[in-house]
Amino acid sequence: MTTTDHDLPAQSSAATTSSATGTRATRIIGIAAIVALGWLVAFGLGFSPADRDQEEAVRILYVHVPTIWLAYLAFVVTAVASAMYLFTSKKSLGWDRMAGASAEIGVVFVAVTLAVGAMWGRLTWGVFWQWDARLTTTALLFVTYVGYLAVRRLGGSHHQRARRSSVLGLIAVIEIPLVHWSVRLWRSLHQEATVLDTDGDIDMDGLMLFSLFVGVVAFTLLYVWLMLHRTRTMAMEDIVEDRGLDAALAARRAEGEL
């Protein structure tokens, strides 16, 4: 918005509020995400009809399904970025940070899916949790990526971190098809896929489907917005860490010279 704050060093906290990791693009995407989330509330809780069997409980679908889809997407992005780091000659840390940021957002979304799913399960199945194929594989997916995030923080140089985590990022993504087709592979309490299935027809009421679509758009915008901010924050974390290391080395050298 302001053209002058470009020249100022980031000092006043009021100016840095928007200019730390924000840009024009993030502001536009952020506003769009907020508007879409408002629509999601309006359609999910208001305009969409109750289900014949599930009644009002069906409204949970509009957050439960988009969050897990975006989590899948996030982990696929992690895998792709990991591959880009590993298999390109430049070995750009930008890919590594993209992988890490995407995995973090994915973990948040899977956590939300599990918690919201438990509430939905309580209302429709009568139980919060069941050691069922879909639920179990999703829990395993969550735990795996928490492990991935822990591995990223084990220390070492940035490139050591990147190598380690990109191998893991490529292995962990195999779980996604397992989660998605678990309801087919094992007999399951969880219903099969309604929209992302292979028979091509969608057994869903029109307004319900539209509400789900609004949810997907809202969470996609949110994902992009979070990705932009998180990768930028991670870039600064790396810079600060490098500078801290440089300063420590300089201090040691100075000590030696004394």
Binding site: D51, G126, D203, L258
Partner: protein
């Protein structure tokens, strides 16, 4: 060692090489590395628990009503999970005990459940009952409603969907 003051320790510089000029502890990354290791250990434990719980619950065979006595493992006198659709008009509740029958593919099985099933339990809906078949009836101790992957608005009169469940059109309960 931890709380050394740089202003007072300025005379014995050689003994405090791990303190920054500004007084902050230089050993910053060290405590930070423990947390990921603890998290990783927890991750392995949690992963193990999840897999064993899944395998343990898979010990109860998941059978459809028409597989009782036919498919391996779907026998009387052992714990199973039985899937079927609640027969129309079969639900009887008497002094805290719910009796009903479930059908799948033409076969039917009476169920006795000590309690009131939760969720969206009602007739014409697919359920999974955990229990043992004794004297021709499933003595259930857990009833879960397995809702379908079809989503239909309450006021939608799509009769075709209801016939899939083997029940009459649900216009009566709308």
């Amino acid at each position: 060692m931890v709380g050394s003051d740089p202003t007072r320790g300025a005379d014995d510089v050689d003994l405090t090489p791990r303190t920054n000029v500004d007084g902050t502890a230089a050993a910053g990354p060290r405590p930070r590395q423990w947390l990921p290791i603890i998290v990783l250990a927890l991750v392995f434990v949690a992963g193990g628990v999840i897999v064993t719980q899944f395998l343990r619950s898979a010990v109860d065979y998941y059978c459809n009503v028409d597989e009782v006595g036919v498919r391996d493992g779907c026998d009387a006198d052992r714990r199973i999970r039985l899937q079927g659709t609640v027969d129309e008009g079969s639900i009887v509740q008497d002094r805290g005990v719910t009796s009903f029958s479930i059908s799948f593919n033409g076969s039917s099985m009476p169920v006795v459940y000590d309690g009131e099933p939760g969720g969206i339990f009602k007739e014409c809906i697919p359920v999974v009952v955990h229990g043992v078949i004794e004297q021709g009836a499933l003595q259930g101790d857990r009833v879960e409603v397995k809702h379908s992957d079809e989503y239909v608005a309450v006021n939608d009169e799509r009769v075709a969907d209801a016939t899939d469940l083997g029940c009459n059109p649900p216009g009566s309960d709308a």
